[in-house]
């Protein structure tokens, strides 16, 4: 795993936000790494641990706790569909189904430990997320960092990311 | 708790005990006559006649180990039978099932399992205590041998006597 200098510089800057304890920077560092690499690999965990002078297990503990961190590579565009009550009432299950169909993703292998399903072509991956905090405009989903409200049609949504 | 038993107050003729004695003699005489006349027959002529067909369902014969229908050891060497055995007839040496074993999931099995049949009193506590339903009292009752060593049933012998016992054993459940 090669961490580009630019990224490392950004990470170092982030670390300065926590003058009391370097350890606090675990989340920002991991976010930066995930943003760059798409997921947090074992090496990334160790790199972060070295960077923050922590035992690797302390970083792994954090990585595995948060659903926001992925330990396996997602697709180029990672879709998160809200499944919590308001969105579910607004039809997020149907949305998930149509998205999977449109992006050709098979979610049958999804388990608690592997919530992410990646499409055959690797372009799209998808998972259910808990509340994305836009309950009034359900069903909602996020594609990478883009937020989409009142998603009616899966194809329209995906077309924006098909290049 | 102690219970105080009140002795019945006896009449004077009862105190002589003679009526009771004659009554008793009468009873034994009746049995004697009945037996002599061949009216009663309980005794079985052992080696020629055997009980095998008449053994009750829960007859307590020799204790033995059983496998399940896939020939897997049910015993996990928990040593509870060794603990409960009143005459201390059972000796178990547990071992770890090696990781490459087909049944490694269960982790533990008996390496040695000896029941000293000279000591065994056929009480059945081992069967009762077994959490894996691995030890059963079978119907074998004529356990003989010509040396003390021969009377100690080892694991192999115990499985020979025991045979299979069908039924679900949760510990093998791969999904668990």
């Amino acid at each position: 795993m090669e961490v580009p200098a630019e990224l490392e510089k950004e990470i170092d800057e982030r670390i300065t936000h926590y003058p009391v304890s370097k350890r606090s920077a675990v989340l920002p560092v991991l976010h930066a790494l995930q943003h760059h690499f798409g997921y947090i690999s074992e090496e990334a965990v160790e790199w972060a641990a070295r960077k923050l002078e922590l035992e690797p297990i302390k970083v792994l503990e954090v990585v595995t706790f948060y659903p926001g961190f992925r330990q396996s590579a997602p697709g180029k565009y990672h879709i998160r569909v809200c499944r919590t009550l308001s969105c579910a009432m607004a039809g997020s299950a149907e949305l998930m189904e149509s998205l999977c169909k449109a992006a050709k993703i098979d979610r049958s292998g999804v388990t608690h430990h592997h919530p992410i399903a990646v499409g055959e072509d690797g372009r799209f991956s998808i998972e259910f997320a808990e509340c994305l905090a836009s309950c009034g405009t359900g069903p909602v989903c996020m594609v990478n960092d883009d937020f989409h409200e009142k998603v009616e049609d899966a194809e329209t949504l995906l077309s924006k990311y098909r290049d | 708790m102690a219970i105080v038993v009140k002795r019945p107050k006896l009449k004077w003729w009862e105190q002589l005990y003679l009526p009771a004695i004659f009554k008793g003699l009468g009873i034994t005489l009746r049995h004697f006559i009945a037996t002599v006349r061949g009216k009663k027959k309980v005794t079985m002529q052992y080696p020629e006649e055997k009980w095998n067909d008449h053994l009750p369902e829960h007859y307590r014969g020799a204790p033995a180990l059983v496998t399940d229908e896939q020939d897997r050891e049910r015993c996990v060497a928990c040593q509870l039978c060794e603990f409960i055995c009143p005459p201390r007839a059972i000796t178990i040496k547990p071992e770890e099932i090696p990781n490459d074993d087909k049944w490694a999931k269960v982790e533990k099995r008996p390496k040695e399992f000896d029941i000293d049949m000279i000591r065994c009193i056929y009480c059945g506590l081992c069967e009762e205590v077994c959490p894996e339903q691995a030890i059963y009292l079978r119907k074998d009752y004529s356990i003989t041998g010509t040396s003390r060593a021969e009377m100690v049933h080892d694991k192999k012998r115990l499985y020979e006597i025991g045979g299979k016992r069908v039924g679900l054993v949760n510990k093998w459940n791969e999904l668990k």
Partner: protein
Amino acid sequence: MDWTFLLISTIKIVGLVFLVILPMVAYSVWAERRVSAAIQDRVGPNRVGIAGLLQPMADGLKFILKEDFTPSHVRKTYYWMAPALTMIPSLLTCAVLPFGSRLFGEKMVIADLDVGPLFVFAIASLSVYGIVLAGWASNSKYPFFGGVRSTSQMISYEISLGLSIVPLLMIYGTLNLGEIVQNQAVNGWALLPLWGESLSFQGFLLAIPIFISFVIFMTSIFAETNRLPFDLPECETELVAGYHTEYSSMKFALFFLGEYAAMIIGSGLAVTLFFGGWSLPFGWLAPESTAAEVPWWHGMIHIGTFFAKVVAIILFFIWIRWSLPRFRYDQLMRLGWVFFFEIAVANVILTAIILMVVK
């Protein structure tokens, strides 16, 4: 030296003791086992020979072949002596028992003493030495207890035993057992006064003390022979096997034999005193006097009668054993000293009164 007397006596001793009493002992053991089995709805020994009749042989063989083991902690001399001391008195007592009238002119009794009952008691009580000695010599606690119990039991019941037959002696006026039997043969058995002289008011009246005597006598014989319900010297539940706990093989067998022999002699005495000995009821085939000639087949019948009666009494012994539970030791002593002793004395007086008043 009267060689004929010696020869005949030897024949009688050998014949009676070795050909009759000992086999009888053996077979009473067999009978004990078979009868007890029958009473308990079992089969009993039935494998050796027809109906297990050879079982006593097998047992005997086993006893003989077993290792004659002497524990290291015993007092050896006395330990060895004890079984013999139990066996011998039992066999000795049979010397005075008239087991028949006459056969070929010879009295069917080994020693026709005039003090028959006294001889019996004197010798029989010697057997307690064997038991006491065994208990003491074994040098372990259960035999010791057994021995001690045996002593006190013997002493207690010897008295009532002796006193119980005094009424009979008073009635018959003789101590010669042969004459007592002859008397009964002619004048009705002590317990069956239905012919001869006993068919009188006094005769019937005397039946009362005689019956009392009989009960005391029989009970005391049980106690004397250590039979259940008075087998406290060897009671298994408390003392393992009592005085013979430490014995095995033939030495043990001697105790066993002695015990059963004592039982047979006791039965013989009971038969002689209360059931008219070798005589048949109602004076059938009874000789006129002890001196009278008896045809040989009469003699044979008399011998047969005697042993038949003995066998009946033995069966009664066995029957009692498998019917009644064992006494507690204090109950046993109480029975002997508080009841039987007093009753026996009173019985003597009662007999005396009857004999004097009702003439």
